[in-house]
């Protein structure tokens, strides 16, 4: 079954370009292209039931830009990826499950969308041994002593998803305990000494 993608980008040229990337693959289907998502349109998210939303943060006003994912999450559990027509601030970027840039190649776009879907634990995982970006982020949280619930809150994930990520981290690294994962994170320069305890 193909994955439903909703594109929310004000520039119709950019939107068409994205749509082009996903066409003819069979893996994805663009279910709608919108120019705005604030206001009453939000409710439609429920009926559209997208798997992935690619959204340009500039469709939201400045005040609400840090809470785009949270607002969308009220209607759908779709993975949300930012489309950065202009450079985005770190605080804005952090909430998304990925970020597509104007200069990204089509393959990079596909890879990012797949990675975001992987976060929802839906696509069968390619059995790579390298930790994914999200797994690294979660590993860093674990090493800092955060609980599953806290990690879930930070990344807007369900606890179930966090647990799945942690299982995968342990499978890939061969390390089970929190103390051991902390050592791993430090040896691999994912954290520095000051950020533990």
């Amino acid at each position: 079954m193909s994955r439903r993608i909703l594109i929310v980008v004000p520039s119709s040229i950019a939107a068409k370009g994205l749509e082009q990337v996903f066409s003819d693959l069979g893996e994805f289907e663009v279910c709608a292209i919108l120019q705005d998502l604030s206001g009453p349109v939000e409710v439609q998210l429920r009926t559209m039931a997208p798997d992935v939303i690619i959204v340009d943060p500039s469709v939201y006003d400045f005040a609400s830009r840090n809470s785009i994912k949270a607002r969308i999450a009220e209607y759908t559990d779709a993975a949300v990826i930012a489309f950065a027509a202009q450079p985005l601030e770190e605080e804005v970027l952090r909430q998304f499950e990925g970020c597509i840039g104007l200069m990204d190649s089509p393959t990079a776009v596909i890879r990012k969308v797949r990675a975001a879907l992987e976060d929802r634990g839906e696509t069968p995982r390619a059995d790579g041994e390298e930790l994914s970006q999200r797994e690294k982020e979660i590993l860093i949280c674990v090493a800092r002593g955060m609980l599953n619930k806290e990690i879930a809150d930070v990344y807007n994930l369900s606890i179930h998803t966090v647990i799945t990520h942690r299982k995968n981290i342990t499978r890939k690294t061969g390390i089970k305990t929190v103390a051991g994962l902390t050592v791993y994170a430090l040896l691999n320069n994912l954290i520095d000494m000051n950020s533990i305890e």
Binding site: K176, A179, G180, V183, L187
Partner: protein, 233 residues
């Protein structure tokens, strides 16, 4: 009728030297139990007799070491002498604490000498925390479990503990050791001393394998034997 050993390969009447030759891990069992090497043609029964150890119980421990996945029968358990089991567990603790862990510590210290300071610090802390956890685990058994077993053996009634409690609290000391193994094997920074890595891994494997047998002797032999005694008094 003489008591039959339930594994044909091992019997009290066989020569001790032949028994040792079956599996080299048995050397450790014999050494810990205080048997003196230079066995000549003495039998297992002879050598155990010299040290006041029940040969069947000694062989029970040997089978745990020599045969992967060995599970004693009820009858074997019923004939096991608890004093010797506790003695073995106690001497094993001493062996881990006084021999294996210090060897591992020495090798690890040399291995990480060339690492960056912060890497050194984090690996060393992980190891010392593990060491601490291991001693706590042993101290609990030495201070609470073994005296309780002695009390059961002495049929003293002033006990406020059951072996079931021990089983519940029996913490897993193998997880962190496995983590240490993987950290060293997979993630030790290449600039760290390679020459001692082999020794570190050797002692980790030694400890890991021995602890697995040790845990089985506790959970698969000590606990059921004591549990039965609790119920039959």
């Amino acid at each position: 009728m003489s008591k039959r050993s339930n594994h044909p390969l091992m019997s009290p009447a066989m020569k001790m030297a032949d028994l040792m030759d079956l599996d080299f891990s048995l050397l450790g069992v014999a050494a810990r139990m205080g048997l003196a090497f230079g066995f000549g043609d003495a039998t297992v029964a002879d050598e155990c007799g010299k040290r006041g150890i029940d040969p069947e119980t000694f062989l029970l421990i040997c089978r745990v070491y020599a045969f992967e996945g060995y599970r004693p029968t009820r009858e074997t358990l019923a004939n096991a002498r608890l004093q010797d089991i506790v003695k073995y567990l106690h001497l094993s603790h001493a062996y881990y604490t006084d021999v294996v862990v210090p060897e591992l510590a020495g090798a690890l210290e040399k291995t990480i000498e060339a690492c960056q300071e912060r890497q050194k610090a984090v690996i060393w802390k992980f190891f010392t925390d593990y060491k601490e956890e291991l001693s706590k685990h042993f101290a609990y058994e030495e201070g609470k479990v073994f005296p309780y077993v002695e009390a059961v053996l002495g049929e003293r009634k002033d006990r406020q503990f059951t072996i079931g409690e021990y089983e519940e609290n029996h913490s897993n000391v193998e997880e962190k050791l496995e983590d240490l193994k993987n950290i060293i094997m997979k993630y030790i920074p290449p600039q760290c001393g390679q020459q001692d890595v082999y020794r570190v891994l050797f002692y980790i494997y030694t400890l890991e394998e021995d602890l697995a047998k040790h845990t089985f002797i506790e959970d698969g032999i000590l606990v059921p034997v004591v549990g039965r005694m609790e119920n039959h008094e």
